[in-house]
Symmetry: C3
């Protein structure tokens, strides 16, 4: 290779050792072209409402909406204003996207050895077919090239969706969302299978900023007047019916901890009334969230929506960044998480229900072998989600395979979840997963632990089937 070109070899991510590598290649050839199933993520459905929708500029596509990218530059002293990140107060930020792109290129070396670097390289080299490596010198020429290509029909969102071979894409939507974009897509005649996911955090966590406003919105969209805990539950149930009618297969719950604890309806009502009066304690909030997780499991048992729990992120850790730029700006930091005792009340009530399915994620890898794999290897309702967020990386996947599978078993996991906001990174992320899993299974075969026939089935399960089964996708 010449160092001025991208280094993206055909056999990337496989170990160099020839026996395992050759097995990995053989396995990969069997899953490389399987359709992409993306059961959880944050792509904006509005991208797909029209034939001619576009991604904007290269900076709009790859930098400004992607906190994986700009957090790294920020950590090295680049201001978010210089990268065009909109300020909450409408203050001045860089508007010249060529300048933003140049800063990005000047700092592209920061992504060496990172998953973000791998995804960006894939997007530029494979999706946009840019030949030269991004550097300070090549920045503007590549900008020109991207701008040009992004005007072509093949780079419109719907067309890319098809070219990427996406079979189904699930978005994440607030409980109060009216799913207008999803309706437009459904009615458009386009065949892309895009489904909403029911995420009620902003109404079930009573310490959410502007919670009362969210409740008013919930009243409006559900048509149910919410004066009590009971009517609140009814409104949530009615929204779940609506989401299911729009194709939803799952719910999603982002909580600080997976603490669960049931309250009597009377106690729940009292806290709910205090919340309506804007007069809740920290203790009220913790108890109410813990109770609502059990209540949500009850609803999932009844309506069949798969329940996803994403705990352990301390959100908006950097108050100054939060005040200026709002949430999701790369300042969410994981905390140590406990599942064995926290989930006990929920599992005591519903852990043995054959019809309930709960997918657990973690940002604290110490739980893989210690708590999550033993839990999933016993309870019928539990499955383990893919390595998440900071752990959606080659090493993160390898640790997941090594620490989860021996105890949980492969069939208590759910395949891959890309969880991305960056639409063009989807094939890049699934490709990393497929290569990493083929490499892992090749290692099992090379060390005499599974035979090649079993190995072929496993990689297809990990790439495609497990996700479809776990999320009840057609």
């Amino acid at each position: 290779m010449s160092s001025s070109e991208w280094y993206i070899p055909e056999d990337r991510f496989f170990v160099p050792e020839p026996t395992q590598r050759s097995l990995a290649k053989e396995l990969y050839s069997t899953v490389q072209s399987l359709p992409i199933v993306s059961p959880h993520g944050h792509v904006d459905p509005r991208l797909f409402t029209g034939e001619a929708d576009s991604f904007g500029t290269p900076a709009d596509l790859l930098i400004i909406p992607d906190h994986y990218v700009f957090r790294m530059l920020y950590s090295q002293g680049v201001s978010l204003e210089a990268l065009g990140i909109p300020r909450q107060d409408g203050g001045v930020v860089e508007k010249d996207h060529r300048k933003i792109w140049q800063i990005f290129a000047d700092h592209f070396y920061l992504f060496r050895g990172t998953p973000t670097g791998i995804w960006l390289t894939y997007e530029l080299a494979k999706i946009f077919k840019v030949k030269t490596k991004l550097t300070s010198q090549t920045a503007q020429a590549i900008y020109d090239e991207l701008e040009e290509k992004m005007k072509l029909p093949d780079y419109q969102p719907r067309r890319l969706f098809d070219l990427m071979n996406i079979e189904v894409l699930c978005t994440t939507d607030s409980a109060t969302d009216t799913l207008e974009a999803h309706k437009i897509i459904k009615n458009s005649g386009w065949k892309g299978d895009i489904r909403p996911t029911f995420r009620p955090d902003a109404v079930v966590n009573i310490d959410t900023e502007n919670w009362l406003g969210n409740i008013h919105l919930l009243e409006k969209v559900s048509g149910i007047s919410i004066g009590s805990y009971r009517t609140f539950i009814t409104a949530l149930e009615s929204r779940r019916v609506f989401f299911k009618s729009m194709g939803a297969v799952a719910t999603d719950h982002a909580v600080l901890t997976p603490f669960t604890a049931e309250m009597s309806e009377k106690d729940a009502e009292e806290i709910f009334q205090r919340a309506l009066r804007g007069n809740v304690s920290q203790d009220d909030c913790v108890k109410f969230s813990a109770h609502m997780l059990i209540e949500m499991a009850r609803m999932s048992l009844e309506d069949g929506l798969v329940m996803q729990i994403h705990p352990g992120a301390y959100r908006n850790h950097n108050e100054q960044v939060f005040q200026k730029f709002g949430r999701d700006k790369g300042a969410d930091i994981p905390i140590a998480t406990e599942y064995t005792r926290n989930l006990l009340p929920l599992l005591k009530k519903y852990g043995n229900e054959p019809k309930l399915s709960i997918v657990l994620f973690t940002l604290d890898e110490t739980n893989y072998a210690r708590e999550l794999a033993p839990l999933a290897g016993h309870y019928p309702v539990l499955k383990l989600g893919a390595p998440w967020w900071f752990h959606d990386s080659l090493n993160g996947m390898q640790r997941y395979f090594d620490q989860v599978m021996e105890t949980a078993g492969i069939y208590n996991t759910v395949g891959f979840t890309d969880d991305t906001r960056a639409f063009p990174s989807i094939p890049a992320r699934h490709d990393v997963w497929r290569r990493a899993s083929c490499n892992w299974v090749a290692g099992l075969i090379a060390r005499g632990m599974v035979d090649l026939d079993d190995g072929r089935e496993i990689v297809a399960d990990l790439a495609y089937h497990l996700a479809k089964i776990a999320y009840h996708l057609p």
Copy 2:
């Protein structure tokens, strides 16, 4: 290989890279045939009381008593009743062992890549010399074959014990056990070396179900009337004398946390009296257990029994399964464990005693490099037990070697402990350990960290000598 046969290659579990693999093979050839020393486990000694004892049906041998096996099927929706697991209430469970075996075979794919899959494969392919892989199709023919072979003299427990080349096997026995089976074995003239281990959990943890009944039993077997803390201690000491006389070399303590704290005799007496009256608080229980760990260390210092501590399992996590089927049904889940502060009081009192030996185990691997290796690398009384339970696996062993040895040193570890209830899995488990340790040491040699002469000594120490030394076995 044909995919209808077992895939159990001669060089299994070694890395494919030829330099390291060839060293691993060479090292393995030097330890492969060493006798098995099994200083801690849960095999039922009654298997060995007679010449003609048998294992029952294939399901009796491999499924019904093994929670490693049935938990995995349960996690995927198979009921424990369908697997013939006896109900506490005597309710109906499957009695047709051929049906149970068929369900097991139908779900055998769940064990792909798991240690249970490895052990079962070894037992079927190597011990019972079954040629074909277990599948839905081959299930009944393999059942026939096993049934036939299990009638042969070579498959009777004592004969298998000898064929497996077991030098010594330690069982785990309640403090109130009269060790009848051990007596029969001793008096039978058979040369098999089977020793009891003193496990007083059910009498020293005052929150044990039916604790008072256990105390009455302790009175009966010790011949000591237990009306006070002092007489309780005397009774325990007398049982230790008895266990030693029956060949015991160690004690075993399963605790939720390794919290230790000494009480005055007066305080201990007060709690003990409350316990006799059935009137203890949660705080009493925690304090008494913490005190008894120190008291047990005192006794070990005096009588030389090696003290094993197995903390960190939240027992019977699934209340519904516990109520129906009792303990040890695959529903024990690990919790995060702390040693540095918890062990401080015990170590302050006895940590520098040259004659005391304490073996620490963990279900929380985060302690390997952070707390356990530094503790064992300093305190004369401490040694680290083998990777335990969920971590008794190829990856678990690799993590143990990688995270423990650099800081603790190899000679503060105790070799391998199979800790199994499944007698025929013993050689399978020791074989995994020997292969994993040879593979690890081969890596050390290949990377220039130890020379081949040292490597040969290390693998023999890990396979055989360390266990004998640590447990004071003759």
Copy 3:
């Protein structure tokens, strides 16, 4: 090799797989001879005050001052007295250094596979050019050889400093230290660049033994009468000015936890007054240390000294050893550490300051991927220190690379810190780091993640440039 010679192959520490190994060798050849930058450690500057200073006997050089060495022998039952470790009460300890050396040689097998074994081997084989492996048999002959060589001019400390190609060496010095040795070195005309580091633990942590004595010393060396919190702060600031004038580039803070919390000046004053009266609570101590970390960050922002935080060691865990032999005797044991919430107050105040630099270390590797990498990958002020203490090892480095780099990025780390008291181990330790990092980067290249040009830059950054940049070294 013959087993009677050291096994220290040229390509040690690289994986055996030929592709990666060959890349690792190529990368290593580009960094092997770079000068050593040692921005943090505990070498005694008095070694370098004169031309003809000497290291004493072989036992003085390699055993008696090195708690990494004697803790391991102690853990196996060798008394510290037998190893010549001085007792606090002046009690009898072994004075015959040949006898001490023989015990060390008899137990040298304990260091198989440990970093201490690697360093000692390097020192004996590469620095002292001893050919034969240390064993019980060769002990006395090697002692003779070392004694002979240590008289030669090339083995005097200053000469070794130059031969080892050390560009800069930072020591660690109490806030009350008058830096006499540093003055003598500076004025001696010798060109060795040895710098102090400001470590104020003994005066900012009010629970330090003899804290009031330390405050009196601080008064004396600063010339400032300390009757109040305000004058205390002024005295600290004046010492920092002095340390800077002596070449200091950094401060160092050893804390049990990284808990930070600001107090009002009034509250700080009240606690400080109680401390002066010798009347503080545990709560006072925790709060004052938490406050002082923020205050130290404020000073670092003002004077530009890089702030190092080393949390998580439970010091002097073995009280009996502490009473007899004092601190730093191998009895410091890590505890679980939390950063996300503990650092929040400090980061809220100073986390976005472009001129402040804080380097975080940990003894709890669970923080690498969970808290430290996400924090460093976002906050401009944070960088991650090298794998520390028990984790300064081949596996520790591999885990650091694998768990930190994907999320933090290489450029939020600071290269290597040897942190050693054992001067002759410095090149051994840096060599391990350089080989480990070349091996890691070779793996990135072999798996198609970075190209060779980038790889070459990364290994030079890790070996040399990152430390210079992070510590503002000229």
